[in-house]
Amino acid sequence: MAAMLTPKDFATATPSWWCPGCGDFGVLSALKQAMAELGKQPKDVAFISGIGCSGKISGYLHSYAFHGVHGRALPVATAIKLANRDLTVIAAGGDGDGYAIGAGHFVHAVRRNTDLTYIVMDNQTYGLTKGQSSPTSATGYVASVSPDGNPDTPLNGLALALAAGATFIARGFSAQPKQMVAMIKAAVEHRGFAIVEVMSPCVTYNKINTYAWFKDNVEDLTVRDGYAPNDRLAAFEALTRDGDIPLGIIYKEDRPTFEDRTGLPEMPIARLDIRQPKAEYAAIQAAYR
């Protein structure tokens, strides 16, 4: 049994490219803490990120990390999990990566319910392209490509996930690390597709949705009387009603995964010996005689 690791064991030597004060730092440190507390080994963690400020996170977690193309973290993560079930697979990206260019994959990854964790770092703006509206920007949000205010309705990613059949939905706030660590741990341990949306303020471009703004506008669901995260209608109400942004584990359900439904063997595909021809090959050919 390998020694229990600390968050430091999940750090890389690569210096961060994020702005000082960026909400993504909180997500990264919670992730390292969660990995350590779960007893994971870096060699067994596959960490896949999208493109954008948030996408850089894969460079900062000591693991098998994959920093691919914009919006496609989930298909890559899905396949890595299917290829090797022994791995802990985590995907991460921003609100643009997940809810705009990757929205199609998001919905279908939810439906597929592959056993992986998806962290959406929501800063309600496009940071790396210098401050445009994102899918979660408020209507009227003034940005470089919407100087008269964002004309679109913000996308409710978690309500979308619920509608698509998500089996684990949680939301955190990057200034509340303890809750985030617990949430990420629960998401990783959830058997199926788990989404954790983190409100992760952009200190450079988003002057509306700041740390202070969030502190005034979030509500911890876990302290709400009688809230249990196993009621889909209650979850939908919590996610869509006007008022404070709910934090905590919002919904959780056990349902067969893609792996269960396809009868995928426990033996990782990546460990199969393919170098020797199989006796069964001949019978397939014989059917064409």
Binding site: A65, A79, G263
Partner: protein
């Protein structure tokens, strides 16, 4: 009497069962010892619309369609009107005259007409669909099929539906045969086939051979999005892979299909996807990622007529440029093109080996006229298949800090770990990176990384499938082509030789990196070189011109109507230039 060469066209409306009967005819010819090629010419719809199934039987394997149709089985007037001009003089038409008659202007006098109320007879037998089997009896009697083999094969197809269905089909065959005996004794078709032995042969579609090749090559992950004419591969793999511990994912789109393929390959599984032009356009996004992350993926493109939706069920070779040049930035890539069903298997295995040995995307480019066509071929020697996983580290461990995923090496290929290997942790970034995977825009590193990746195209030279030379090596007249055109060109070469015109044919099997040396050597001593391809702009010809410079000797033979070449279309232009030898008989 035309012996042992016949092309049958089975024409009607989509969904009327003619595909099953077409397969049956192909199987009967095979069991009679003939070599078979089939071509499905169907519309992009499920029920209705003119469809036809061509079955060509001859004594030469690896040929494509003949010059003309010998026997047209037409279930409606539309089928006659659409194909009467393709009939060989001396051929015959079987026409269902239950509800339509042949107008005089369509009734060619140089073909024999057999008008039979097939639907009416079928109705009297109690099942309209049985018309197909009745027509099989008619065709068998006219063309000289072995009645025992016909019955054996029909029984084989319908056995699972029960003895009642088999019995009905047996009576339907008899009804067809006896109708010919009783009504057309005075009107012989002029056709006959001698029976040989089937021997140990297969009859298989190009897509089946690709999928089987992938399985034998160790592919255990496929992601795909349904698209004609590539879906067969996805269906085949979804049936077979689970039994071998693998998995198939029907992705939400081609962006997901290719990125899933990358993910599985990154994790250490031999992975593939298959698509056609429209899907390839979407996959373009991630091909560059495969190149820069040095991930081995195999992408099968089953080309169809473009652009846009184009003609989804028709054949074309208009995607060569797309495969070579698509994507921003520059990456090394390989494009292989099988010319036969047998090569579809062999080159698929090669594609997986090249992909892993050189850690890059390999395309297998085929076309509708090959990938959805059946052909007879010898069995595959699966025991002889070699699996070369290159510098893969899928066992043991490496030392963290010393191990560099993108290490600079002489051949440009770096040792590749898979997730789970202790010590191999690294970042695989689509951004430019150093040998350890750390993102950097350092100018010297960038230049060196470009040279490392692109240099793989040079180090792989000896491993690439060589072009095949057909015909007479020092003939004055040359032909260059690839893919589905291999059969018609090879037949043209054989028949021109019989007419005293010697030619040689360079069948390209590696299309990228472009086989410049083979092309240069081939042009040496050639008076005329014909480039045969299924596109408008001469995509292959332009690549050749870029290698050998301006040449007078180069002639184009292009076809872009969605139909594959018939050999006479290649023979004629060559015969005109050669201006020697005897006229070539239309076959």
């Amino acid at each position: 009497m035309i012996l042992n060469s016949v092309e049958v066209m089975f024409g009607g409306q989509a969904g009327d069962g003619s595909l099953t009967t077409g397969d049956l005819i192909a199987g009967v010819f095979k069991r009679m010892g003939l070599e078979v090629y089939t071509y499905k010419d169907f519309p992009s719809r499920i029920r209705g619309g003119h469809t036809n199934y061509v079955i060509r039987a001859s004594e030469n394997h690896d040929y494509g369609m003949a010059d003309a149709v010998d026997a047209l089985v037409a279930f409606d007037l539309e089928a006659v009107e659409a194909h009467i001009d393709e009939m060989r003089p001396g051929g015959f038409v079987v026409f269902d005259n239950t509800s339509e008659t042949i107008p005089d202007e369509v009734r060619r006098s140089d073909v024999t007409w057999y008008e039979i109320p097939l639907a009416k007879i079928a109705k009297e037998m109690g099942l309209e669909l049985i018309r197909n089997t009745i027509s099989l009896g008619v065709l068998g009697a006219l063309v000289g099929m072995d009645p025992e083999i016909v019955r054996h094969d029909v029984r084989g197809v319908y056995q699972r539906k029960g003895e009642k269905v088999v019995d009905l089909n047996m009576r339907a065959i008899e009804a067809g045969e006896s109708y010919v005996r009783e009504n057309f004794a005075d009107r012989p078709s002029g056709y006959g086939l001698t029976k040989g032995t089937d021997g140990d042969r297969l009859i298989m579609m190009g897509n089946d051979a690709i999928a089987y090749g992938a399985l034998v090559a160790g592919c255990r992950f496929m992601a795909g999005y349904p698209i004609t004419p590539a879906t067969d591969i996805l269906e085949w793999m979804s049936k077979q892979l689970p039994a071998f511990g693998g998995v198939v994912v029907q992705a939400e789109d081609e962006l997901a299909a290719i990125t899933m393929t990358l993910g599985a390959a990154f994790a250490g599984v031999r992975a593939m996807t298959a698509t056609s032009g429209p899907g390839q356009a979407l996959m373009t996004e991630a091909i560059g990622l495969a190149g820069v992350l040095e991930i081995p993926v195999v992408v099968v493109e089953c080309a169809r007529a473009g652009p846009s939706t184009g003609m989804p069920t028709k054949t074309e070779q208009s995607n060569l440029n797309h495969l070579i040049y698509s994507g921003h930035g520059e990456i090394p890539r390989v494009i292989l093109a099988p010319g036969t069903v047998a090569e579809s298997f062999e080159l698929t295995v090669t594609a997986f080996n090249l992909a892993e040995k050189y850690q890059l995307p390999v395309f297998l480019l085929t076309e509708q006229a090959l990938c959805q066509s059946k052909a007879t071929l010898p069995p595959f020697d699966v025991g002889a298949v070699q699996i070369d996983r290159g510098k893969l580290i899928d066992d043991g461990e490496v030392t963290f800090g010393e191990y560099k995923r993108f290490a600079f090496t002489d051949d440009g290929v770096s040792p590749r770990v898979i997730p789970g290997i202790p010590g191999g942790m690294h970042l695989a970034p689509g951004s430019e990176h150093n040998d350890g995977g750390v993102i950097t825009e350092n100018a010297a590193n960038r230049a060196r990384m470009m040279e490392k990746r692109m240099g793989k195209l040079v180090s792989m030279r000896d491993d690439l499938p060589r072009a095949v030379l057909h015909g007479v090596a020092d003939a004055d007249i040359g032909i260059v082509g690839y893919g589905a055109n291999t059969g018609p060109i090879a037949e043209a070469v054989d028949r021109l030789a019989r007419a005293g015109i010697l030619t040689r044919f360079l069948q390209l099997r590696t299309l990228w990196p472009f086989p410049e040396d083979d092309i240069r050597m081939f042009f040496g001593g050639a008076q005329h070189v014909f480039v045969v391809e299924n596109n408008y702009t001469g995509q292959l010809e332009r690549l050749i011109r870029a290698v050998i410079g301006p040449v007078d000797a180069l002639q184009s033979v292009r076809k872009y109507n969605g139909q594959p070449f018939r050999p006479i279309e290649i023979i004629e232009p060559i015969r005109r230039i050669a201006a020697v030898g005897e006229p070539v008989e239309v076959i």
